[in-house]
């Protein structure tokens, strides 16, 4: 179930549509944050941060890892 998100329709930081608005600030912030929203369905993901990485899980689209 790792990395099944291939085409992102939503911003993984704010959950907004990538087709609308500017997500440049989100992308910049993401350098020091894990993703919070699933890019495929904009569900809030379960995110676990550990000292050397993170995992983010969408119930529908699986788990992303740093």
């Amino acid at each position: 179930m790792t990395g099944t998100v291939t085409t992102a329709a939503y911003c993984d930081r704010c959950g907004g549509s990538l087709a609308e608005g500017d997500h440049g600030a989100c992308a910049a912030a993401r350098r020091l944050e894990p993703p919070r929203y699933c890019g495929a369905c904009r569900r809030r993901m379960k995110v676990q941060v550990v000292p050397a990485g993170w995992t983010a899980t969408c119930v529908e689209h699986g788990t992303l890892r740093s």
């Binding site: 704010c14 350098r31 809030r44 379960k46 995110v47 676990q48 941060v49 550990v50 990485g53």
Partner: protein
């Protein structure tokens, strides 16, 4: 040299007596041209009263999000529309996080939970987690679980937690503007019990919560009164969805002034860089702070946000000829 720095040289550097509130305020008000001298003096104080070693720590969230409290800076409060969801870390993953932390050379591993205070489920999880870490990893274990009862303090001592973190967060006079679900005095009470138990007290806060410069000085003086073993200094990283989500980031020079001032208020404490340094200070400022009074770092990621890779900080320490505190000297 400004009078306050002459005074601090005589009192803090020579005698090891921290600055009082008025003294801290004078340092916080120094114009930019005197900032290098303040940082230099704070560095000398750190070298004289703490030495060149840097204490390295990793932190991990055992229980993330869904907290019933309303600390206005916190993305883990369940009362705001923050995107952070509640999640628990299992014990194998906790042990693995401790192992990765120890592999960086860190001597401290702090296990944190987003709660008002521990419930029986959390105490059980912590007890099992600490036992598992101690069986497999050579590292000292600290905890941060909110407000404690006397019985919980005793239990933490018994299971081998050597240091307890509980931040006062900000000046007493500003606290009610930042948190309404519990009081500064309740936090102080937990700290008093922790100190009495013999566990090391770790207590710091966050700068940039809308406090005035005077309140920053007040906070440093209140920490001076508590005299914690360690003070983690965070700079607000405004979190989406929280009441302080639109607060500006602390100006880098103000952050450095605060580092020098807190060191001059707390000559012997372990003054740790905690969250927010990346966005507030960047790489250059991180270096300035380590040469301006800071003698401890959190390496790797934070609880819900990411830090610089541990290797970047360790390389910087080596470049600055600051040895990482070893477990043998820590014990």
């Amino acid at each position: 040299m400004p009078e306050i720095l002459e005074h601090a040289r005589a009192q803090v550097l020579e005698r090891g007596v921290g600055l009082d509130e008025a003294g801290v305020l004078a340092v916080l008000r120094l114009p930019d041209e005197h900032l290098p001298a303040a940082l230099q003096l704070a560095h000398e104080v750190r070298m004289r009263w703490c030495g060149p070693e840097v204490e390295v720590e990793g932190i991990v969230s055992l229980k993330t999000g869904g907290c019933p409290e309303d600390c206005h800076f916190c993305s883990q409060s369940g009362l705001f529309t923050s995107p952070v969801r509640a999640v628990w870390l299992d014990i194998p993953a906790l042990v693995e996080a401790a192992r990765q932390t120890a592999a960086t050379g860190a001597t401290e591993f702090c296990v944190v939970a987003a709660v008002r205070g521990p419930d029986p489920r959390l105490m059980t999880q912590l007890r099992e987690g600490v036992r598992a870490i101690r069986a497999e990893v050579d590292i000292q274990i600290a905890a941060s679980l909110g407000m404690l009862t006397r019985e919980q303090v005793d239990e933490l001592v018994e299971i081998g937690v050597h240091r307890y973190n509980h931040n006062l967060e900000t000046a007493r006079s500003h606290f009610p503007k930042v948190v309404t679900t519990h009081s500064w005095e309740e936090r102080w009470e937990t700290l008093r019990m922790v100190r009495d138990s013999g566990m090391e007290v770790c207590c710091g806060g966050i700068l940039g919560l809308g406090e005035t410069i005077e309140q920053r000085a007040e906070f440093a003086a209140q920490l001076g009164e508590l005299a914690p073993h360690e003070v983690p200094l965070n700079f607000l990283n405004p979190r989406p969805g929280t009441p302080l989500g639109d607060q500006p980031v602390v100006d880098a020079k103000d952050a450095l002034r605060a580092i020098a001032a807190f060191r001059l208020a707390l000559p012997r404490t372990i003054l740790r860089y905690a969250g927010g340094r990346e966005i507030t200070l960047g790489d250059l400022g991180t270096r300035d702070g380590l040469l301006g009074g800071v003698n401890a770092v959190i390496v790797g990621n934070y609880l819900t946000t990411l830090g610089r890779p541990a290797g970047t900080d360790l390389a910087l320490l080596s470049e600055l000829s600051m040895p990482v505190k070893a477990l043998s000297t820590a014990l």
